[in-house]
Symmetry: C2
Subunit: 589 residues, 2 copies
């Protein structure tokens, strides 16, 4: 199927007098999940992974993805038609510079690439051409319709602050920066700013659209009108104008002479190009909603605590169920994930998973972003390591938890316990960290790795990501990672704490809780300090730990955490589950 | 004296039709120490601190420095003539934009500011004018002559590699980057590359000059001919051409059409400006000697070990002497520093201090860069905290050590012991860190602060800086700091490990050893890991520690370190000193 698509695209490129074309996986919002109508890369190449990019030239074509998807890329794409490449080992701009003739006209869709993304291609001697209409759309005859799930009010009981209030803050931020307006292209920012939620893409409850916020707080929302029922329009109020999504172009044209804020890394380059053409001044700065959205207000903070407690009931039921079924070897990666989902469906307010669950037994656990399929699914066997990373969306909060378990009935090998203990020490080092205001995630990351590093071990991913409030489970701008942006961690942010260790072909370990950043209460502190409140409430598998390797403080933290889990979740469980939880939460020997 | 200078400068500015002029403290090498001939800021304003900048306008003038020198600035400058400002709280570019008329012609000497430094001024609506001749030099009638200390060979027994060999490496680096030549303006780079040492500035044994390295390894040295005796010329060999310092301009002009590497942050902007005018292509990249100079070869590594052992003898003698004299209250900050210098003068190969010693008793220890003067000097009293930070230059290595001592004869307060213990824990966390290749200093810095942070405490400086091999005691490109450049730590680098704690008006604590980066020997490591060898050999004051606060591993590290100090240094001391050292190095209780 992919090869006819490729031929059709090449014919269209010839018609548009283009020597090549860049096909990112992104849609016009440059986010993690895209609707079926935007799955151009999958239509063209057959590759359905969540990260990738293709470049099509007249005679040759390449499709790139990262380490997570290299095998899937090989399975899903035709080696006759495509070079299949590792995106960091052979960066697309380098490949293009090597394979395209000098001065070649290379098309790109300016709605699908950021200014910073495009800049990576402009060093070579190529003529980069912004297409007016995506040539794929011209030949993709059976393209699905865009999603039309209604956008609904996100009540104040969850949002905590009115949209007027939030917009007044953002407007002040714009005025202070001498900007007349800001372009919002991230649907999560729009959802936060206008207190609405939708369902256009899987796992993240927002509605696709664009917005312009003006320096007086008035906001223009560009969204398909059929997604905005009367109740939502009323909720938005009369300082929010609504127009069809495609009206954004002429609205930008009207900003001639104005200074308009655009996010050069988060927004498609089309916006800056259009504004410049219209005679506006483009002020490059981050999306003004990013920081206030990341710092949850008191209502959102209490909401996430409530959501985590309800979610914990499902997780603890699942862990109890698994403690019985796993040693029998009768469950599979898929059936276990389905069981957890079934437990979650019974939770008040459950609206869906916050990302596709990772359910990896043994060697599958070592594949960091493993996603079980009918083909890969296998039994969860007795006496092996099993990793499950999952999360849920509730109107009061988004959850994300990973536990690594020993299936039993035997005892785990000592080396496995050594590794799990080191990961646990890293998790505790983050959970107990105290740090001054102003510190960023790049400076805390090593705490999580120290115990592993001492043994010559490490993990090849960040330690933590931001999490939204009934929004994206991966939210910027803060993370705990060597590669974290230089944005200080601040009160109200929700971050994951998920160090790991992976022994390829054998097992994977990851221990993840979510954390809420709070002001540290330290009598006599020299200056403002922050620390973390752990939100997630579920036991870690004590069988996988070696208490003798841990310090007294580390053991005390774990015992106190388990006591808290038992106290909070125990009363919400049935009798057998409660007994199991009491044993799982018993102090370390 | 400063006000006539200011009037004379203003008259010269009027003659040159300039509305203002920027006077940095830097010389043409943008380094830490400058010769008397380049002390323009001191001549103009009276301010002699090592960091500062003045801006002179027709009616008003301001002089800026950082927190270290605010008091000194107020004492040394005339408040009628100068606004005296904090350089980070009121950044000079902001002050200039506020005080200069629009379109004002503001002069700067392009030899005294980097491209990055200049860029901070170019945002405002000012006409920034590169002067041909520094207007201060035109009116500074009693300006000292430039230094003419001879540059001498740095023998292979210390350098470890021939200049030819080093130049071949740098030349390959240039060819790989498709650069025809590189401009060197850092005298430390020239000293390293050509294996020469000089004495033009205090504390750092290099000779001031410029150089051009070509992609075939041939090098042009621009240095006053009287500084190059025949033996040095012979040592340089026939692939190094020598010309007077002022011939660099015409040499740059001859690079028309070539691609020339210039360090935009480390070199004066004059070089790029001249090259561009000459028709060369300027390739902005870091000084190509920075990294290879930082990674000491095996000879330099053994040299620094040897130098540290000899230096340790002087330091231990001093500490023994102080243990007797301090409780009497008869010594002063100056006499103690002089005593340490006297002990060091007896060490084989001692060539001078590597920086002005910081000798701070009680509240003076809380001034991070305190430099004792006749005015500030005070007695070291019994029963207080005393901090001494000092270092020496030897041909085989550069040292830098800080110890914090309790003068006795009584016992230190518990809170002081708590603080010192937390700083010690930070020191040990760095000393024992193991980390993968690729990690930078920004990722390790928090290890040094964790124990302090837990108590709401911190220190307002980096944890460590690079150190040269018989070169600068502050050497780039790597440091251990939140603000560290993103350059990975690598084998052979020498870094300081100096966490601290300062209670203003009371005391300062800093515990500093130098570290050598080495490959970690970990059986079964997943990938290459690095760790540190501690170079410095002198006891920490055990009276200031609370062993009960430390973990068993921390106590074991300190006991092992002290045992090593005793083993290495003890046999080189006299009998009484040896007995004292044995007690000072006894295991923690």
């Amino acid at each position: 199927m992919s090869v006819p698509a490729l031929s059709a695209l090449r014919q269209e490129l010839a018609r548009q007098r283009l020597d090549g074309f860049i096909v990112p996986r992104a849609d016009e919002h440059l986010g993690e999940y895209v609707p079926a109508a935007a799955e151009r890369l999958a239509w063209l190449s057959g590759f359905t992974g969540s990260a990738g990019l293709a470049i099509v030239l007249a005679e040759t074509a390449a499709v790139f993805t990262d380490g997570r998807y290299v095998l899937q890329l090989a399975e899903q794409t035709d080696s006759e038609a495509w070079q299949r490449l590792h995106i960091t080992e052979e960066p697309p701009p380098t490949w293009l510079a090597q394979h395209a003739p000098k001065k070649a006209r290379i098309g790109y869709d300016p709605l699908l690439i950021s200014e910073e993304g495009l800049a990576r291609y402009t060093g070579a001697e190529l003529d980069m051409v912004a297409v007016e209409r995506n040539p794929i759309d011209a030949v993709w005859t059976d393209r699905p319709a865009p999603p039309t799930v209604p956008a609904l009010p996100h009540p104040l009981a969850y949002a905590g602050r009115t949209s007027e209030d939030k917009r007044a803050d953002v407007a002040k931020l714009l005025r202070d920066a001498k900007q007349d307006a800001a372009v919002l292209t991230d649907p999560a920012s729009i959802a936060w700013l206008l207190n609405i939620r939708g369902g256009d893409v899987p796992f993240t409850p927002f509605a696709l659209g664009f917005a312009l916020v003006h320096a007086d707080g008035a906001t223009d929302l560009f969204m398909a009108p059929e997604k905005l029922p009367a109740a939502t329009r009323a909720w938005l109020g009369n300082t929010v104008s609504v127009a069809d999504r495609h009206a954004i172009g002429s609205a930008l044209d009207k900003l001639a002479g104005k200074t308009v804020r655009v996010d050069a890394s988060g927004s498609p380059v089309w916006f800056a190009q259009r504004l410049l053409k219209a005679g506006a001044v483009v002020s490059s700065a981050s999306d003004p909603c990013l920081l206030p959205k990341a710092c949850k207000n008191a209502t959102e903070q209490q909401g996430t605590r409530d959501a985590h407690l309800r979610d914990a009931v499902a997780v603890c039921r699942f862990l109890h169920w698994l403690s019985i079924t796993a040693p029998t070897g009768q469950e599979t990666e898929m059936s276990a994930a389905a069981a957890l989902l079934a437990f979650r469906r019974k939770v008040d307010g459950f609206r869906g998973e916050s990302f596709p669950a990772i359910s990896g037994a043994g060697e599958h656990g070592a594949i960091i972003h493993y996603r079980v399929t009918d083909d890969s699914n296998r039994a969860i066997r007795p006496d092996e390591v099993y990793l499950i990373d999952s999360g849920a969306q509730y109107p009061d909060g988004t959850t994300d938890i990973t536990r690594t378990l020993w299936t039993g009935p035997g005892d785990p090998p000592e080396t496995v316990r050594d590794r799990v203990t080191r990961v646990m020490q890293g998790h505790i080092a983050i959970a107990t960290a105290v740090f001054p205001k102003g510190v960023g995630g790049a400076h805390l990351d090593a705490f999580a790795r120290r115990a592993l590093w001492q043994a010559g071990l490490d993990y090849d991913h960040g330690t933590g990501h931001g999490v939204g409030s009934y929004l994206s489970v991966h939210e910027g701008p803060v993370s705990i990672s060597r590669l974290a942006r230089p944005v200080p961690i601040d009160t109200g942010m929700i971050l994951s704490n998920e160090p790991g260790f992976y022994l390829p072909d054998h097992y994977g370990i990851r221990l993840e809780n979510l954390l809420l950043v709070q002001t540290a209460d330290i009598p006599g502190a020299q200056k403002p300090f922050l620390d973390f409140e752990t939100l997630t409430l579920a036991p870690f598998d004590r069988r996988l730990l070696q208490p003798a390797l841990m310090t007294a403080q580390e053991r005390a933290w774990l015992d106190a955490y388990h006591a808290r889990v038992l106290r909070a979740v125990g009363p919400l469980l049935g009798e057998a589950e409660q007994a199991w939880l009491a044993a799982a939460c018993a102090p370390l020997g």
